[in-house]
């Protein structure tokens, strides 16, 4: 754990220096950080606990809407609305999980698509609640300590803090009782019960935590976009991208989702600027290549090979 925390510290230090070194590549860095945070949050549920959600865009949307509506309608500062969003996301996660956790495997995944789609339709159609299909503008933001929250640098640091907090959370959890409960439930619910673990409660906690963290990132995303439209922020595609990032990087590993974000967004951006209209095609091919050659994800596969090698050596000697 210490090793990982030190690693995180080093990365954080590098991150803090980043805007000074690359002042012109902040938007993409913010994307990487947000996706790292989302995918890592997703992974608490999807990787560590084995419940593959394809509905996490709902929480991103929730956070973004809380911030945008809170500011534009009620003049609430984003930090308050993000905290509220986190609480609300956890509550939503609780009921959502309560509804769907009797389902296992692909059935659970499909149910998350359904719930998220229903939430999307509500966001689009209930104008009194969300401003409807035309979306919400975020025109002004408070300036704490004279910091302009609309500046990419400030947003970069928010995203960096978000990603760091999420990764730190996972580092701590991975070594704690809760982390083992998560994994036990993932591997075998009956066997977990035999060890005195309440699988439903464990999954609910994971879902709530994952939802709350995701929504905080969503709040930052709302600030970054400053204009949110329900079609975009609640899109199935975003849910899929979040899951994809975690899985490509390596499910149930501490650094996998972050590596996934770096690789997918980095490569995606490279393709976008070099291949014009063919870039998504090449992106698809990249995904296929990773799946075929690193079926457990980048970090997952490396870790597995490492363990295998170690163990084979030990067994042979």
């Amino acid at each position: 754990m210490i090793k990982h925390l030190i690693g995180l510290g080093v990365l954080l230090a590098v991150g803090i220096a980043y805007p000074a070194i690359f002042p012109n590549n902040l938007t993409i860095a913010i994307s990487v950080l947000l996706f790292a945070g989302w995918a890592t949050s997703w992974d608490l549920l999807g990787g560590w606990n084995g419940q593959v959600s394809l509905g996490h865009a709902s929480f991103v949307g929730l956070g973004a809407y809380f911030v945008a509506i809170g500011q534009s309608q009620f003049g609430l500062a984003p930090w308050w609305t993000m905290a509220m969003a986190a609480v609300f996301a956890a509550i939503l996660g609780y009921f959502w999980g309560w509804l769907t956790f009797s389902l296992r495997g692909p059935y659970f995944s499909l149910s998350t698509i359904a719930v998220a789609e229903i939430l999307r339709l509500i966001a689009i159609n209930e104008e009194w609640l969300t401003g409807g299909a035309t979306g919400v503008f975020l025109a002004t933001l408070p300036e704490p300590f004279g910091i302009d929250l609309f500046s990419r640098t400030a947003q970069f640091y928010m995203a960096l803090a978000f990603a760091a907090v999420v990764v730190a959370t996972v580092i701590v959890i991975s070594r704690a009782q809760f982390g083992y409960q998560l994994r036990a439930v993932r591997e075998d619910e009956d066997s977990a019960m035999a060890a005195g673990i309440d699988p439903t409660a464990t999954k609910l906690k994971a879902f709530m935590l994952s939802a709350a963290l995701t929504s905080i990132g969503g709040g930052i995303y709302g600030v970054v976009l400053a204009f949110i439209e329900p079609h975009v922020i609640f899109a199935l595609l975003l849910s899929v991208q979040i899951a994809l990032t975690a899985i490509i990087g390596g499910r149930g590993t501490i650094w996998g989702p972050s590596v996934g974000a770096l690789v997918l967004i980095g490569a995606g951006e490279m393709f976008r600027t070099t291949f014009a209209e063919a870039n998504m095609l090449i992106y698809g091919i990249l995904i296929l290549i990773v799946v075929l050659f690193l079926p457990r994800g980048i970090v997952g596969e490396l870790a597995r090979r490492h363990i295998r090698r170690l163990y084979a050596k030990r067994a042979q000697s």
Binding site: Y180, A184, E187, D190, M193, A194, G196, I197, P199
Partner: protein, 238 residues
């Protein structure tokens, strides 16, 4: 002998089929109760019902004079049940130590102490040297021991062993028999299902025989093995 566990009138149905029909049993600390019967007799189902893994149709279960009939499985575990599964179910992606750690966390919250407890249980079952190996890579005999270690790490008062001897070669079998005896010597109440008669005869204080979900005989190992019906339904004639 004081009763640790009592189960009265347990009935389990699957759809229209009655898998266990009105079976009762009781168990004192340090006692070993053997459960035998033909394949499909309902032994595992009875285990599942008592430990809370299969819904019961009727019956009551008391642990140390506390009615636990309505409790879910994990709460029964917390009150003192430990069990193994007939087809071993390790947490495959965790190491051997982590597998046991999961269970050890039930009684000790601090990681260091939980790890110490887990190690000591692994030592007890003779898996300490494999602690850092992925559970997936264990062979059958070791998987069985891991199953046992997980069941023991919750510090149970009653332990349910479902065919932990099946498929073991004779030396491994001897070790396992000795180990189960040591458990009862520590005061644990043991309920075991086994087809290996050698183990049943050697270990059980008391044996219950199930066939088609019904209790057809009960008594000391000697009594049941000479029972006509048991021979006909289960043991066969030579």
């Amino acid at each position: 002998m004081p009763n640790v566990l009592r189960a009265d009138g347990i009935t389990v149905k699957f759809g229209g089929v009655t898998a266990v029909n009105n079976v009762s049993l009781s168990l004192g600390s340090g006692e070993i109760l053997g459960l035998i019967g033909p394949n499909g007799a309902g032994k595992t189902t009875l285990f599942n019902a008592v430990t809370g893994f299969a819904p019961m149709h009727s019956g009551t279960i008391t642990l140390l004079n506390k009615d636990i009939t309505a409790l879910p499985a994990f709460k029964r575990t917390r009150l003192g049940f430990g069990r193994t599964f007939q087809t071993e179910r390790p947490f495959e992606e965790l190491t051997v130590l982590e597998n046991v750690l999961v269970a050890a966390f039930l009684t000790v919250g601090r990681r260091r102490e939980a790890e110490r407890l887990a190690m000591s249980v692994l030592e007890q079952v003779g898996l300490a040297d494999r602690a850092h190996q992925p559970a997936l890579d264990l062979n059958l005999a070791r998987r069985r021991r891991l199953e046992l270690a997980k069941a023991l790490a919750v510090k149970p008062k009653v332990i349910f062993l479902d065919e932990i001897m099946a498929g073991l070669n004779p030396p491994a079998l001897r070790e396992m028999i000795a180990f189960v005896r040591s458990l009862s010597a520590q005061g644990l109440a043991v309920l075991m299902v086994e087809h290996i008669m050698e183990a049943i005869i050697e270990l059980s204080d008391h044996v219950i025989v199930l066939a088609s979900g019904e209790k057809i005989a009960e008594g000391t190992p000697q009594q049941v093995t000479s029972d006509e019906r048991v021979i006909e339904a289960y043991l066969g004639t030579d």
